[in-house]
Symmetry: D2
Subunit: 319 residues, 4 copies
């Protein structure tokens, strides 16, 4: 099977190498083309532009660094739009950035609340920002197919095909891409209409943020009431709520190590967005609401760029 | 090694059978002596009373059904007190009941705040209620040793020696009992002074209660915003916050199955007590406080005797 | 002094009558012109259109029923824009509707976050919705002056000149309008740049919503713990937190009377918006966040269109 | 009418002076007898001991500085018990101290939960602490009558007879004392069984604490979002939630003035106790719970001895 791949950052390189190792023919493109060399050495072909990649491959996957890059590969000269057509599909795996999801859902919602004509909304979005909806619609307008497919997992799972893929959009394209998705992830989900991938991530991250906050309260409570918090970590890891996050982050947290894997400000935004989703649907979420305020306290203490485990410092109180 | 064992309910029977299978000589006693037969068939000896068991064994372990029973084996005619003496130890594993821990800690704390003489406190407790402190002090008064050792885990871990033991009290007795504790549990902790076992359980249960509440908010949010909550369960189980509790209870919760493993009213009490412990130490715990109120709502809806997973119904709202 | 007045609903009629009684020459306009008759009987002149009113008067005040009406008097044929010019001012008192403030601030904020060109924003707004900013800018574009001046208070304070006016925009126009504002309100504030009026209302309403929620918790707590809640009302009214809201709404609340003065769904939106304002500025607001979730519970129970005092029913729990 | 008065601190002196000015014959006693002189100059008689006062008067009122003093006037040599008898009554107005209410209700509740014999409870209380129940029972045991009558209000209301009296206990004594109570307070309530006075105060103080917290969030929000918080104070004071507390404390709070009228640690305890009362009765109180955590944060910041308005500093965050 032939697959195009746009974007060879840490994640993109790992995924396309994994595809090559599983026998896929991969045509790669990267803004800095020299980054393609390592993959070429393992059998990949180079495409000179996103358009050229799409021209060669039925299915092209994008894993771009950020929203402007994700936009650029579609709309710029030499972009996907120049070659996408009936029978071809584009899968954007790069829209995991919660910042973007946030903006999109906010705009979408506020504009909707004004009852804007759809054309007006699309016009606005296409002209001014990138999002999966606009990409989808645009690609579709040319007759191509589109799938949003944010992944959960980082470098190592990407190398070993252990990502979790939360895809949404056109089922036809999803089915067609299954052989590739099966290599990329240990599990992929098709969640229906576009936006459901982002929603699912919000729900998961909301639960995660609350757990981290409760965990922090427990650590501080144990310290202040004369128990060794390291023993608490051990006890937790032996019981029914043992989980990789407590195990992985706990010891570092106690030493004040909060080097950012998932920045606290993004975690807080996801909780806030989950609360907004709950507001829309009249779901009362008092625990998430309380956690949100603690994360805001952490932000006000200047901890927003640290890992979200730094909420522990806010619970602890500063000296 | 010779060990006495008092109380052959589900847990006690499983533990003493496990001890027999590991080559311990076990002298058992149970209020209804006929319950001893199965163990005798596997090599156990019968003691006619707690006192007789203590007379025969250096170390006696109790796993009684409830606080009155735990009290009775110590103070009643034929009780431990009649034979406990220097060189002998009693390990009470039965005080895992959070109801009792709660009462004890409340009384202890309120009385303390009045600056009562200790003899007065002990006199009161001994006359009117059972608790680990009084047992310990009493046993010590006779020259024996005492250990509180609440366990975490249920029937199956008890049979297979996979319990987690949170012991506190006399280190000497703990060290002496290690061979038996190693057979009973996959891990045992010595947490220092009496009370630390109960505190540790409170902290763990507080975190657990918050997680269940956040989990419930996520399940309801997914349902109300058009996502399949069963898919959420799958996604959660593939990521960094995957844990046995979500995995084990999630599917049943979605079907409204909340048959009680740990009753909601006990979970709420533990959160409340953890908050009280936080209050004492000026630890602000807003997530636990929010969860506590949701569990109270669940209680007011008549869900107190169901499993604590029934907090999901309170989050969902009743029809 | 000559003043134009657009919109003779309950509030507009009361205000313009009050102006007439204080010796102002008032030129009135209303969509249904017959509604002007009563005012003409008291000395008012009729303007055939908003444009004609503006032509006659240096200062025109609008008190329109809803956002479309507020928009229409500016942009439609015969609208303010046709006659506004240097030396003339328009004061919109009608934007007190929290629904609108919400939408506007949301759009404003989300669009801003995309870095849209201002012309684009204005174009969008003018085409599709009404808001004070667009009005102000538009009016200014013609050389006229603009002031937003939401009022606090209802019919009776309007008749007796006891409104509170939260104005923002052009200070020059504010100063010029003082004689009229002094008749209309017992107090008027000039709060600086446009938007500050709405912000101030959000902060006040957030505090009000929290108070109502705490008040409800107190009423339910007194009932459930054997105190007569009517006695609580009496005690509260004699102390340091006595206030017109408790006094005015309390007795009705206890009887289940929540006929809408300020609908619960609007109160909840204002708390949510105040929280959003806090999020922007990293202000942690745990009490407001907790109240927000209770109001959401009330919404989910179908109480959104009742008075916000119906949060009492949510606190109480439904039978 | 003849009234005895024990305790001539700020409040006691003001109340007894007020009684004298209204024509009552007052026999006063104070630990430091010289403090009686000013009252004697206005017509009071001196009693050499509490017992002597009770001997002379049908009704004796106590307003003691603290719980030990309140205990002492009853039980010590020369105390009330020596002369109380059928036909005489004692009204304790001094038990407004929330510290004491807290301890009492905690002990009362925990002991109750153990099903202690009543005699045991009373024995304990009489021997070790003071509380209104024990006083009542003791006085009754001698055949006298007892009323708890905590007052709300400080020095100035005491001088002018503007206190609010929350009495509970024996209605017969209440009725008999009405002429005095009417002079002492602008309003007195009879709330039924002993304990209801304290409960009522808890409910009121819980609402007050939540209001102060919400008020603080509003002040900080206004500051951080570019509004002048002093203007917010003005706007609040003109509307439906205007109240003496906002008016009286607001300006000082903005200047960091939190000299203690009602210490923050006492306010937090009252919220905690109100939550405990809610817990007993399965009343969910999420706003009070959130406020409680903020007050705990304030305590952890070392603000416990300042006025409860210092919760504003906790909301603001420390530099």
């Amino acid at each position: 099977m032939e697959v195009g791949f746009l974007g060879l950052g840490i994640m993109g390189k790992a995924i396309s190498m994994n595809l090559l190792q599983h026998g896929f023919k991969v045509t790669v493109w990267n803004r800095t083309l020299s980054k393609c060399n390592e993959l070429v050495a393992h059998g990949a072909t180079i495409g000179e532009s996103p358009a050229e990649v799409v021209k060669k491959c039925k299915i092209t996957i994008g894993m771009l660094a950020d929203p402007p890059a994700a936009l650029s590969v579609v709309f710029d000269k030499g972009g996907i739009l120049e070659q996408i057509c009936p029978g071809k599909g584009y899968i954007d795996m790069s829209t995991v950035d919660p910042e973007t999801s946030t903006k999109i859902s906010q705009v979408y919602r506020s504009l909707n609340s004004f009852g804007l004509e759809e054309y007006c909304f699309l016009h606005l979005i296409i002209e001014t920002c990138v999002d999966t909806d606009s990409l989808g619609v645009t690609v579709n307008a040319k007759g191509g197919h589109f799938l949003e497919a944010p992944v959960s997992g980082s470098k190592q799972p990407a190398e070993t095909g252990q990502l979790v893929i939360l895809s949404a959009g056109e089922k036809e394209l999803y089915d067609e891409a299954i052989p590739a998705l099966n290599v990329i992830g240990k599990k992929s989900f098709f969640l229906g209409e576009i936006g459901n991938g982002a929603k699912m991530k919000l729900v998961v991250n909301m639960i995660m943020g609350c757990m981290m906050n409760a965990f922090s309260e427990g650590l501080v409570l144990s310290e202040k009431s004369g128990l060794d918090p390291r023993t608490l970590l051990e006890v937790l890891d032996l019981g029914g709520i043992a989980n990789p996050m407590f195990r992985g982050k706990g010891p570092g947290m106690l030493q004040g190590n909060h080097s950012p894997a998932f920045p606290l400000k993004h975690q807080q935004k996801d909780i806030r967005l989950a609360l907004a989703l709950g507001d829309e649907n009249a779901v009362s979420m008092p625990v998430a609401a309380a956690a949100n305020e603690t994360y805001k306290t952490a932000r006000s203490l200047g901890l927003g760029d640290l890992d979200f485990s730094a909420v522990y410092e806010a619970v602890k109180g500063l000296k």
